[in-house]
């Protein structure tokens, strides 16, 4: 990686990553590189390590070996909140908004306590709210009173307030009714078109891939395949991929 040519530096790059809980490693030598301005989706069977991967990237699980780089800067040892300041925002799968606080307070808190540089100014706030008009018009409401889909949008909006380079989404469609699922992935595209690189993990492959640019298949903690998302949908038999026959 040559720092002299920043246009070639991937927003998010992982090299030889090992991580896990307790005894064994769940992630075994994972390497990947997320190109700028794309939606990068990790799919895989249950227990493949998707969730460990995104938590390790977010800084909630410690990396045992390997390197995580954000726009060329090594963030492997940064604490979770510091990664947000560095430009890597994370939306957890559930409990991702403060239910007893208003929408406005949720937005404010998303950057209020981050140290350094990322304090959202009014323009950033307006830009984010313009992406999510549903959220914008409910600023005075308690977040707990929003619908599931709106709450997910609010979580996106909060993450974007820190003006991140990369947005990490942990199963954004989990627990939503089918009606909202399309809406949420549409919002993911909106985020991408606003210039933010998106890295997400998804269980709902069929729904997610049409909205993704690149797909990575993770099986048993190892990268099995990286390809264009539409090609994965069209050309590969997912079942055989998951079972390791491809």
């Amino acid at each position: 990686m040559s720092p002299g040519r920043p246009e070639l530096v991937a927003p998010l790059a992982v090299e030889g990553l090992f991580a896990g809980y307790g005894g064994g490693d769940i992630l075994k030598d994972v390497s990947l590189s997320v190109p700028a301005g794309k939606v990068f989706t990790v799919v895989g069977p249950n227990g493949s390590g998707k969730s460990t991967l995104i938590k390790t990237l977010a800084g909630l699980v410690a990396a045992r070996q390997g390197r995580i780089a954000l726009c060329g800067r090594d963030i492997t040892r940064l604490a979770a909140a510091r990664r947000v300041s560095a430009g890597l925002a994370y939306v957890p799968q559930e409990h991702n908004v403060f239910r007893n606080l208003t929408v406005g307070e949720n937005l404010k808190l998303s950057t209020e306590f981050l140290d350094g540089g990322r304090l959202a100014g009014p323009e950033q706030r307006e830009r984010v709210l313009a992406l999510f008009p549903d959220v914008a018009e409910r600023r005075g409401l308690l977040a707990g009173n929003l619908s599931g889909g709106q709450r997910q949008m609010l979580a996106f909006a909060c993450a974007l307030m820190a003006n991140p380079e990369v947005l990490l989404l942990d199963e954004p469609s989990a627990g939503l009714s089918p009606k909202f699922v399309q809406e949420i992935f549409q919002a993911v595209l909106t985020v991408r078109d606003a210039g933010v690189t998106v890295f997400m993990i998804e269980q709902n492959v069929a729904a997610a891939l049409p909205f993704s640019d690149i797909a990575l298949v993770l099986v048993a903690g190892q990268v099995r395949l990286v390809t264009a998302a539409d090609r994965l949908l069209a050309e590969h038999d997912l079942h055989s991929l998951y079972l390791g026959e491809a």
């Binding site: 977010a58 909630l60 979770a80 909140a81 947000v84 300041s85 994370y90 957890p92 409990h95 991702n96 908004v97 403060f98 239910r99 007893n100 606080l101 307070e105 404010k108 808190l109 998303s110 209020e112 306590f113 981050l114 140290d115």
Partner: protein, 286 residues
């Protein structure tokens, strides 16, 4: 009757301050702090020492006592509650009982069992529309209302308040947002200590200071907080006012020695029929 309601409201305002403190600690540290009564006693003695022994005017003594006591509770948290933070509510509440024994008996050891009074002039009660209102009651109402308004503004409109509510709501997400839980907890103890000091001084002005004074309020404080749903400061204030009025009015029917029993009856009825509190949400574990 109107006189009793008025007295009850004043009592309620005094009870409301520690009840709010209890609620803040409960929602952020997730355990009922049984030392709240002893905190009332200890803070009152600190203010009394500064007022009577050191000769400071009462207001200065109260302010200084609030600061000192806030420091003391912050240190107590460091020494006692912080090492036990992840051990669950039962361990914490038993530890808070331990703290209660220590605080209360330090006071008894230092000051004896005699009742003490602040160095303040005794004023004649005023009369409004046939109601007797004494100077202490007016002071109590003004100070307590101001303190409650300050806490409300702090919680609603300050970064610290938002951080406190965020930690209470979702500690994991709060951490991800860069909110330092330990610092928020220290501030919570400091605020709780200031509130109990204010209440301690008000009780001391109204009656007298003795080692058991906190004990004589503890059931009322818990009743107020439970009435408000354990976790809602506004609920705790309303609960305290209800408890205060019910206690005073009940003296028409039963002996005034049974004040705490009236509070207890309120808790019992509430737990039987409306366990989520008058305003709060249901908190059922099993």
């Amino acid at each position: 009757m109107a006189q009793l309601v008025l007295n009850g409201l004043i009592t309620g305002m005094i009870v409301a301050l520690p009840a709010v403190a209890l609620t803040l600690i409960f929602s952020i540290l997730k355990f009922p702090n049984f030392a709240i009564g002893a905190m009332l006693t200890a803070s009152a003695y600190i203010a009394w020492s500064l007022n009577v022994l050191a000769g400071l005017p009462l207001l200065a003594a109260a302010v200084l006592a609030a600061l000192l006591f806030a420091l003391a509770m912050v240190l107590t948290d460091r020494a006692v509650f912080r090492p036990l933070r992840e051990r669950g509510p039962i361990t914490l509440l038993v530890a808070s009982m331990g703290v209660s024994f220590v605080l209360e008996n330090l006071c008894r050891l230092a000051f004896g069992n005699l009742a003490r009074n602040f160095d303040i002039p005794i004023a004649r009660p005023h009369r409004f529309w046939g109601l007797r209102v004494n100077q202490e009651q007016i002071t109590t109402a003004i100070v307590a209302l101001a303190a409650m308004a300050a806490v409300y503004l702090l919680l609603r409109h300050s970064p610290l308040g938002r951080a406190m509510r965020a930690v209470a709501d979702n500690p994991a997400l709060a951490a991800a947002r860069g909110i330092d839980r330990d610092r928020t907890i220290l501030w919570t103890w400091a605020i709780a200590a200031v509130l109990t000091t204010i209440a301690g001084v008000l009780v001391g002005m109204d009656r007298a200071i003795d080692p058991l004074m906190g004990w004589s309020y503890i059931i009322s404080i818990f009743a107020a907080a439970i009435l408000g749903g354990l976790g809602s400061p506004v609920g705790a204030v309303l609960g305290a006012l209800v408890i205060g009025v019910v206690q005073e009015v009940s003296t028409l029917v039963i002996a005034s020695n049974y004040r705490q029993a009236v509070s207890f009856a309120a808790i019992a009825l509430l737990l039987l029929f409306r366990p989520q509190g008058l305003l709060g949400q249901r908190r059922i574990k099993r």
